[in-house]
């Protein structure tokens, strides 16, 4: 019997019920996501590579295990969209860069290994800004991803492909990475849930490095329950990553459903206003409405200030490019990746990197190299690392008083494709709400909290280091009181569908 529900539209925990009870097979679940991807990819481009052979093989394996009476893990058989920056053995991992276009990793990243052990089914590798450098997925060497809510707009970035795949139901669960907001901002702009765990919670082994002191892997999902379930899979100490934290991993689903009465929430004014400019009116209004929901649930809300956050953009755009310029030195055309011939070895390096890297990657290598170069190190890099300490201290002080800090995830809704591509500084400023969290290594989530003209708005909740549980508790309580997470973007399969949506949007105004 064909199931009446569209399997690709379900959350991971919903699909688990159907798989565990034998109402549908893992193969059917995988086929539903693959069919949906084939339908909408021409207009969305959320994936850079679909992996139907792998998906069907993995799905059939789990079906066989189920037939033998084996227990189904919570995310076993769930179709997964994986950002193309995490190494997959035998499958190209490109970081959406020409320089890694033909790179086939000889091993799996630790997170990929964990996903395989838990029986997740790989539908494909998702699009991203080249080497995760960007906030719109426009910097992909393979072309931009379009926002499922409005094809003329960006999905955010750099994990724009994973977020769009969730919003358009091209898989049931996904993974992204977040160096300055690259999970949370696209989750906000696509109306889904995205969490950056505490720095060190998830192993970075096999994750292609951008800025090593900031990078962290995390889930992008259709609801908070799936986020908790996925954290259970990916968190934990890994001896292969020396920055991975050896700290007990709780069952994150235990945080769901607990009340939030008496929870103390701080609103840093720096999350709402930067350089004298308030976040967009529509974003502000949605956040204020969300705050009333938290108040009605018994949370105590108070305004506060973390003054050093006023310098977060300058600090981040010194530290991240400095680390990137060092990390990306490995792409020299010798051991792997693209090579362009040259007259001598230096010429070979320079030609390889000139042809292999896109404009934003070059810009950041230039910026980082300059900030680390003799004569400028103290004034730029060292200074930024000192200001970073001031931010860590400001957060510590705030968390002596508050359990959580709240604000918008992005100062605006999704912007138009091409709108900021010629002005790097304007693009950098779109990360203002998310980057302080990376600089301090803290966990934070973005959850849907409203819409403006049919475009989603995200609420950011920041917690203490290693306290993802309180964030999940508050997020789940909010989700249970609202229905933003249930709204789906309309099918974006054709131009006609886009036009149809435009009509619906106008009617809704």
């Amino acid at each position: 019997m064909k199931p009446a529900v569209k399997l690709n539209e379900l959350t991971a925990h919903e699909i688990h019920e159907l798989l565990a009870s034998g109402q549908v097979s893992c193969r059917e679940a995988a086929e539903a996501s693959l069919a949906r991807a084939n339908e909408v990819e021409p207009s969305l481009h959320a994936y850079v590579r679909l992996t139907p052979e792998v998906a069907l093989r993995q799905a059939e394996e789990i079906d066989e295990r189920l037939a033998r009476g084996e227990h189904l893990p919570p995310l076993g058989g769930v179709p997964l969209a994986l950002k193309d920056i995490m190494c997959t053995k035998g499958l190209p991992t490109t970081c959406c860069s020409r320089i890694l276009e033909n790179f086939v990793p000889p091993y799996d990243a630790t997170v990929v290994r964990r996903c395989n052990e838990q029986g997740l089914v790989l539908i494909g590798k998702t699009n991203m800004d080249e080497f995760a450098m960007g906030s719109s997925t426009e910097n992909s060497a393979f072309g931009p991803t379009h926002n499922p809510w409005d094809l003329e707009r960006v999905p955010g970035g750099s994990s724009g492909g994973s977020a769009a795949a969730m919003a358009a139901d091209e898989a049931n669960i996904s993974l992204g990475t977040d160096t300055g907001g690259s999970i949370r901002q696209p989750a906000a702009l696509c109306g889904v849930v995205g969490m950056k765990p505490t720095y060190g919670r998830v192993s970075r082994q096999g994750l292609v490095a951008f800025a090593s002191s900031l990078d962290q892997i995390g889930p992008i999902t259709k609801d908070v329950t799936d986020c908790a379930l996925f954290l259970n899979v990916i968190c934990g100490h890994d001896p292969l990553d020396s920055t991975s934290v050896d700290f007990p991993v709780p069952d994150f689903t235990q945080s769901l459903g607990k009340e939030i009465k008496g929870l103390k929430i701080g609103l840093p004014k720096e999350f709402f206003e930067y350089e004298g400019k308030r976040v967009g009116e529509e974003v502000d209004a949605a956040i204020q409405t969300a705050l009333r929901v938290f108040e009605s649930l018994g949370a105590e809300i108070e305004e506060t200030s973390l003054p050093s956050l006023n310098y977060c953009v300058a600090t981040y755009y010194l530290i991240a490019p400095a680390e990137a310029s060092s990390n990306l030195a490995r792409y020299d055309g010798v051991q792997y990746g693209f090579r362009s011939p040259g007259d001598d070895i230096i010429d070979m390096y320079r030609k390889t990197r000139d042809k292999g890297f896109g404009a934003e990657v070059k810009r950041r290598i230039m910026l980082g190299t300059y900030a680390l170069s003799a004569g400028y190190y103290d004034a730029y890099y060292q200074k930024a690392q000192q200001v970073r300490t001031l931010m860590v201290r400001d957060f510590q002080r705030a968390f002596e008083k508050y359990d959580l800090l709240l604000g918008p995830t992005s100062p605006t809704v999704a912007f138009r494709i091409g709108e900021k591509s010629d002005d790097p500084l304007a693009m950098y400023l779109s990360d203002v709400c998310t980057i302080p969290v990376n600089l301090a290594g803290l966990p934070a989530i973005s959850i849907p909290c409203g819409f403006s003209d049919g475009l989603p708005i995200g609420l950011q909740i920041v917690g203490r280091a290693l306290d993802e549980e309180t964030i999940l508790r508050a997020s789940y309580a909010f989700e249970q009181s609202t229905d933003f997470h249930l709204r789906r973007s309309l099918p974006a399969s054709t131009k006609a569908a886009a036009d149809a949506r435009a009509v619906v949007t106008r009617k809704g105004e």
């Binding site: 033909n102 790179f103 086939v104 000889p106 091993y107 505490t198 720095y199 060190g200 002191s213 020396s242 920055t243 934290v245 310098y311 953009v313 300058a314 600090t315 755009y317 010194l318 030195a329 020299d332 055309g333 010798v334 051991q335 792997y336 990746g337 693209f338 090579r339 007259d343 001598d344 070895i345 230096i346 010429d347 070979m348 390096y349 320079r350 990197r353 000139d354 404009a359 070059k362 810009r363 230039m366 910026l367 980082g368 190299t369 300059y370 170069s373 730029y380 060292q382 200074k383 690392q385 000192q386 200001v387 970073r388 300490t389 001031l390 790097p424 500084l425 600089l439 280091a465 290693l466």
Partner: protein, 95 residues
């Protein structure tokens, strides 16, 4: 403090990049604007503030000095643009 095109050339050499004439003039302009923006950090007094080295307090991470399996040469070389006799092949370095 605007960057000169010569400084841009020097940084490009350090970063092992080769810029087109167009990139050179674009980056001179854009990087000058970005560095100018960074000057705001000077407003902050950071005397005696230690630079952040790691956000989660951690000691040195060590392991037993015991041999473990490593990638076989064939797999390590599988992605090399050029290889010869189990080595990565590069343009001549020593005259």
């Amino acid at each position: 403090m605007p960057l000169t095109p010569e400084e841009v050339d020097h940084v490009a050499l350090l970063g092992r990049l080769e810029l087109t004439e167009e990139e050179r003039s674009l980056f001179t302009k854009q990087l000058s604007a970005i560095l100018d923006y960074f000057q705001q950090l000077r407003e902050l007094d950071t005397t005696g503030v230690p630079p952040t080295s790691h956000v989660i307090p951690m000691q040195n991470v060590l392991r037993e000095d015991a041999p473990t399996a490593s990638l076989p040469a064939e797999e390590a070389l599988a992605n090399a643009p050029q290889q010869q006799q189990e080595c990565f092949l590069v343009p001549r370095i020593i005259e």
